[in-house]
């Protein structure tokens, strides 16, 4: 079981799935730090 608190996170979101800003907000709420964030668009 991973504990996100204190982890450094690479956020790789996807436009039609869960996008970068959404993942960032959630991951921060669990106490992690954002190292890198982007949203992919496959088309």
């Amino acid at each position: 079981m991973i504990d996100l608190k204190g982890k450094r996170v690479l956020v790789i979101g996807e436009r039609d799935g869960v996008n970068g800003p959404a993942i960032e907000a959630c991951v921060k709420s669990a106490g992690a730090e954002i190292l890198y964030a982007e949203t992919l668009c496959f088309v």
Binding site: L4, V27, A30
Partner: protein, 103 residues
């Protein structure tokens, strides 16, 4: 991954180190998730990107995997994740990840 951001991720890790780094993904297709996770763990499986042959060893989780999602603020989960969780087949999408983490 065929991620065109591989080069930037490599730079970020070279500067910051890979200790305690995890990736959290949001794609809605199992293949996309698998390709990204493999690239970040053991190098670009397509043998073509900046992470070819570079095993960063970074584990990937999907934002909707329950062991991750259970740690989020419930109000945020409701606002940001409830719809995607219903829209995608979460079990199918996250299925490739555990075995890749264990590689």
């Amino acid at each position: 991954m065929d991620l065109e951001g591989q080069g930037r991720i490599r730079q970020v890790i070279e500067q910051a180190g890979a200790d305690g780094v995890v990736a959290v993904l949001g794609a809605n297709s199992p293949t996309a998730v698998e390709m990204t996770a493999l690239t970040l763990k053991s190098g670009d499986p397509s043998y073509a990107g900046p992470l070819t042959g570079i095993a960063l060893g970074i584990p990937s989780y999907h934002v909707l995997e329950s062991e991750i999602a259970d740690q989020f603020d419930p109000a945020l989960y409701e606002r940001e994740l409830a719809l995607p969780a219903l829209a995608m087949d979460v079990a199918e999408v996250v299925a490739p990840l555990k075995s890749i983490r264990d590689l």
